[in-house]
Amino acid sequence: MLANTSIPVFEQLFNELTKTLPGDVFAFLPELVLCGTVIALLLGRLLGTDRWIPGHWTALVGTLIAFGFSFNAALGGIELSSVEATAEISRSELFSGLLINDGMTIFFRLFLLLFLVLVIALTVLSGIPDNEDGPDFYTLLLGATIGMMLMVSANHLLILFLAVEMASVPSYVLVGFLKGRRASSEAALKYVVYGAGAAGVMLYGTSLVAGLLGTAEIDQIAGKLSELTLTGATLRTILLGVMMILVGLAFKLSLVPFHFWCPDAFEGAPAEVGGFLSVASKGAAFALLIRVAGQLAGPAAVPPEIPVPGLEGLAISLAIGLGLVGAASSTFGNLAAYSQTNIKRLLAYSTIAHAGYMLLGVSAMILARHAGDTDLARDCVSGVLFYLTVYLFMNLGAFAIVALVRNQIYSEEIADYKGLAKQAPLLCVAMAVCLFSLVGLPPLGGFVAKFFVLAPVWKAGDIHPAMWLLVGVALLNTVFSLFYYLRILVAMFIDDRPTGQPVAKPDSVDKLYVALVSIPILLLGASPLIGKLSQAAEDAARDLFL
């Protein structure tokens, strides 16, 4: 196989590397820029330049450059697709099939980097890492984001595991970033223990799946699945492996019953970190879930008239199972949010509920894909992508306001928010926009997003009637959720501010930031931007099922 003399080996190495590597590295530039930024942050501390150029500027500039590169790649993708009009052109594999560079990768890269820019800006405003800790904080933030960017482009089970770990381990430290506070350390410890357990289970699952299928490449899973005779022990083993992988992803998505870490971690972590984890980590995990789950539905080449015996059951039980988990997550998240008095804990339960809604889209995608309805499957995916984008703004907005208000009144209890609207009207109005959008009320982005997710799920009810039931549960949950979000708003707007409470005087920069984050929610609810974004989401989903 490999020559024993060393010269041919080096020749082979050289040939392999010069053949594909330059192109691969070019497509990998945004990640590399982030890696470079991490090193620049460390060097800045070593050389002492971080006293003149604070860490947040280095991080911000690096992220913006990475954003520029990925934006450039996205523009290239659009030009390419309009000229060639075929989906296969814009889809390419990097690093000998370990990564995949398609519409969804580009979409999520922009999503993550835009979000990273917004989070860094927020941390500058709220000042949670001071100048001394800044380089450490941004190193961890960028390191986690590199992991998430690998998650969204993973095409190999090894990268799947590695990327999830790369995203998780810095997050553990970020959750415990406020050292010396008991709640913070406890939150980080809980997150670490649960995370390590989930990672171990997921690793075992990937080994079972890779061993049974004889491939570790994610886009080969569907083909290999259809070649197996899925009966008896094989079916049980593959089911076990798939479930174990899904446990790892469900942990990242904080779905019921793997959500226990979420409220504690969010309560103990600074609000900025909570916002980062709730959006970026979830978005990346959804991208990974869509890639894996799309393969588990089986190959498109098999027409539905010739059902592969085991595969049929596998796909449908997977779809219904994920749907039930999604419904349970949104129901449980909403019910548990009622009794919360800490706003970060309440928002943590709200993120559990929102992950549940989006999971319904994924489960409908599996069903549609299995039934051979590729268009519907793409609609499901683009719905989830749209939802995630709106979710970025509304959730970041809510967490940002919590962080900025905390700096003024030194509290994160809902009771201390009483009468805040008279002192900081803009912040409270923006909070109202975010929360109403989280509920999904009509003129706001949240409503459109919910519609885009649930409409394909409703359509998938034609394939399996359980989907109708799931949509019903989701709609009921939307109504439920109104009440606990309203509680915050009632405290802010209607109650009087008790005397002796600290006075909130937000800076004009704070106000500008909050306005910047909440205006997209309005635009995505009622403006031509809806069409633009849904078009982008459709473009991203188009390469997914060939």
Binding site: L13, P170, G176
Partner: protein, 199 residues
């Protein structure tokens, strides 16, 4: 096999070390027996031409985990030779679980048809006897994909070399190291109210 005497030496040391861990009541002696057992296991791997696994066994278990274990004992134990006493119930339970596992493994080993397996193995890859697994793995890590392995498919050139994970993991380790250093480091000054958050 010409390695027969060596095999018996390593096998006896492996089992003897394992028995030593169970019999001994002194935690430092137990750790030493574990070193003997795990080190001999590495020797068995080398005899099986699995040099990479053998080296990993030495590095990770003997070199890493056990040294950590001994340091842990030295740092936490009140006396240098702490005794561990087990109740009869624990002995019974441990023996039951251990024997169960032993019987599972023994039955599995007996069930395998070694002759046909060996013949198939030499037929499939004649070079397997020559060892050198570390080199093949190393080459995959620097980007040369191996043939006839997981992930071979025609028309895509998609044979998997593991250059990317090998390189990107260094960034991961760097980031994690920074995080660990941050958590372990004492804060030089107390955060003032405006930046230190609530409370």
């Amino acid at each position: 096999m010409s390695n027969q005497p060596l095999f018996w030496i390593f096998a006896l040391l492996t089992c003897g070390g394992a028995v030593g861990v169970v019999i001994s009541q002194n935690i430092v002696r137990m750790a030493f027996s574990l070193i003997v057992s795990l080190g001999s296991t590495a020797g068995l791997f080398f005899l099986l031409e699995a040099d990479f696994v053998g080296a990993t066994q030495l590095l990770v278990y003997v070199g890493g985990t056990l040294v950590l274990l001994i340091f842990g004992v030295m740092l936490t134990a009140s006396g240098p030779f702490q005794q561990i006493r087990v109740s009869p119930g624990e002995t019974f339970l441990g023996a039951a679980v251990g024997l169960l596992l032993l019987s599972v493994i023994a039955f599995t080993v007996i069930d395998v048809e070694w002759d046909t397996l060996n013949a198939a193995r030499t037929e499939a890859s004649p070079g397997a006897e020559s060892g050198n697994t570390a080199r093949a793995i190393g080459l995959r890590l620097v980007g040369i994909p191996a043939d006839h392995e997981i992930g071979v498919h025609e028309g895509r050139g998609g044979r998997t070399g593991y250059l990317l994970p090998f390189e990107i993991v260094s960034i991961h380790l760097l980031v994690v190291l920074v995080g660990a250093a941050y958590l372990a480091r004492a804060k030089r000054r107390v955060a003032d109210g405006s930046t230190g958050g609530e409370n």
